[in-house]
Amino acid sequence: MKRVLTALMVLAVCSALLILPGCRRRQPAPAAGPAPTAPTPAPTTAPSPAPTIEVQANPSTIERGQQTTLTWRSQNATSVVIDGGVGNVAETGSVVITPRESQTFTAVAKGPGGEATASTRVTVVAPKEAAITSTDIEALRQAIRDGRVKDIFFAYDKSELTAESRAVLEENAKWFRQFPSAVVVIEGHCDERGTEEYNLALGDRRALATKEYLVQLGVDPEQLETISFGEERPFVQGHDESAWAQNRRAHFTVK
């Protein structure tokens, strides 16, 4: 994993270097007319410096459904606009995007000293054929066993995701996207309070809320199944909040 990250970083630096020479600068047009014969008095203010802008996407090639980060930096600009649906942005910043098709993003910086543009292209490739590979299934099962794919927990009688749950799901989504041929079963579980019938419906709602967020994070909905266990399979026995809190969860298994 570390090696992959290092490779990505190297790629990012290289692509930034490649993009930089592509930035064009427009100098203010020289004053018309013959060159003055007599020295003119020095201007009281220096001419406004020309704006500069650079923009890059990291990674610049993604599979459909994956995310990339668009980062830009400009100087001497009073406005920066990036096309492709990004819009007006600050002088310097970044945004996470999920383009469905390959797309060139052009940033235009305008200032008193003129205008500068820069572009970067994001290449979107079709996801690899989801051939069922036992290595995907085994790898994901191992990640669940090792606790790298984590369960998420819910408040009493609630199916809303907490900020903590969202963070966990963001990490889980990376695993699920990495092994797209492994079908993930999201199990919804409840504590012993409430009746069996209601808890079966509540567990279903918890599993669905979990699935919905994973799909937002780019996991293929076809890769995700949901099943409610209601209060059928408590992870911890006991009749107090410490047990109940452990039992209100979404748990992941590989089909």
């Binding site: 009688d157 079963v185 012993e192 309070r193 409430g194 009746t195 069996e196 019938e197 209601y198 079966l200 419906a201 509540l202 279903d204 709602r205 669905l208 199944e225 949901t226 099943i227 409610s228 059928e232 009749h239 089909k255």
Partner: protein, 443 residues
């Protein structure tokens, strides 16, 4: 600021649910004024070990059936005449009118073992008029069927002395879900817990059984081992089954309509966020969403006429009992006390709905009944255990429910006023009981 409000709420909740003063009369007093004496049945000719053991079972079952029927004041055997009664000519009616016995009606009879079976002659007499009310001869092909003879005669006595109000519950059955390791299977027992038999043995999770009105089928939900999908099964008790098609991995709480032609259940479509109540015809076709509401809707039950459906919805915040017409119109909330309600079951006379309620501050449930016309509620169980999943007997005079009062979840029956509780399962974990209808009349 909030603390006094909470306290007020608690205090008002306590007043509403104090169990000592029934707010509604469940029905005409359950312990009737009919005083019944049931003399031990006797060997018809000479005693034999076979006859004695059959009589022991018969007398025990008959007494319990009649006592639990909730129609009679059972007169204690301690004061009965010592002379055994085999046939009507043995009866001295004055003996049964003394102040200590003081019976209105007298049951007696005899048994003879013939081959591997037995013949029972059973009588019911009016003590005051000295008239015979019932005189029946039953033939059991095997002495192991002697319980059924006792049940059969008990139901005849109840039918006669209740003026047809009840056909008796002694021959009814109870289905429930029983945990075996990681699986839950459907079982059926006689109403008194005897004679258990298996309906499913698929190693999966089989839950929430409900009877068809003719007792020939059970509807329940099944998740087979290794499957990530709940299915609604219609299991024919004579063999064969049908799976009602649903559109997602969630399906729950089926209920067959009183005419046996429709089935209501909770499910959702693939793209829906929440469960709804659906109705399909009994073959599974024509599935229609009745609630269509962004909330959990589950646990449908039919009114006895099939015109209305009570169900559970958390659209008001927590799961509560709601009622709608069977076409999904005219939706209204029936119970307004907060907390968690579930498992509604409509009484056979249509007046009352049983349900379980978990108070906002509690984790255990208790069994309540609400009068449909007025919304008045009455608590039927009390104590430290959780009491859930209530279900009416077909005569509406009894209730089956699950309770943790003996430790693990077990099945109990009681009178409709919450009295006379009797445990009918003892081993493993047993839940979600459903009482069958009356047995089909065999003519």
């Amino acid at each position: 600021m909030t603390v006094p409000i909470l306290l007020q709420l608690l205090v008002s909740a306590l007043t509403v649910f104090s169990p000592q003063e029934p707010e509604i009369v469940i029905r005409p007093p359950i312990t009737g004024v009919t005083r019944l004496a049931v003399a031990d049945f006797q060997p018809k000719t000479t005693a034999s070990p076979e006859a004695d053991s059959a009589l022991k079972v018969f007398n025990d079952v008959l007494w319990k059936d009649l006592a639990f029927s909730a129609f009679f004041e059972m007169r204690s055997k301690s004061f009965y005449p010592i002379k055994p009664i085999r046939v009507p000519t043995d009866v001295n009616f004055e003996d049964w009118q003394t102040p200590t016995v003081n019976a209105d009606f007298l049951v007696f009879g005899n048994l003879i073992v013939s081959g591997s079976g037995a013949v029972v002659e059973a009588y019911l007499y009016d003590v005051k008029t000295r008239q015979q009310v019932l005189g029946k001869r039953f033939t059991a092909a095997s002495t192991t069927l002697i319980r059924n003879v006792a049940h059969n005669f008990a139901d005849e006595v109840v039918f006669q002395l209740s003026a047809g109000t009840s056909r008796g519950i002694a021959q009814t059955q109870i289905a429930f879900s029983s945990q075996k390791g990681d699986s839950k299977e459907i079982y059926i027992v006689d109403y008194d817990g005897a004679n258990p038999r298996t309906v499913t043995a698929n190693g999966g999770l089989n839950r929430f059984p409900e009877w068809s009105p003719d007792n020939s089928r059970l509807a329940f939900v099944t998740k087979l081992p290794g499957s990530s999908r709940w299915e609604i099964w219609l299991q024919d008790l004579a063999g064969g089954r049908k799976v009602i098609p649903t559109r997602s991995s969630y399906a729950s709480s089926p209920a067959i309509s009183p005419d046996g032609r429709r089935i209501a259940f909770s499910t959702r479509t693939q793209d829906a966020q929440d469960s709804d109540i659906y109705v399909a015809d009994i073959e599974g076709g024509g599935m229609r969403n009745l609630t269509n509401h962004p909330a959990i809707d589950t646990s449908p039950c039919w009114s006895p006429t099939g015109q209305q459906i009570a169900f559970v919805s958390d659209r008001s915040g927590t799961p509560q009992i709601w009622v709608m017409d069977a076409d999904g119109s005219n939706v209204r909330r029936l119970v307004t006390e907060g907390g968690h309600c579930d498992s509604p079951d409509w009484s056979p006379d249509g007046r009352l709905i049983l349900y379980s309620w978990q108070a906002p501050t509690q984790w255990k449930h208790d069994v309540y009944v609400v009068e449909v016309a007025t919304g008045k509620i009455y608590q039927l169980t009390v104590g430290g255990a959780s009491n859930e999943s209530p279900h009416w007997s077909p005569d509406g005079r009894h209730i089956v429910f699950q309770s943790t009062r003996s430790g693990s979840k077990q099945i109990f029956i009681m009178n409709a006023d919450g009295k006379n509780v009797r445990q009918i399962t003892a081993y493993g974990i047993n839940e979600s009981p459903a009482w069958s209808g009356y047995p089909r009349r065999e003519q």
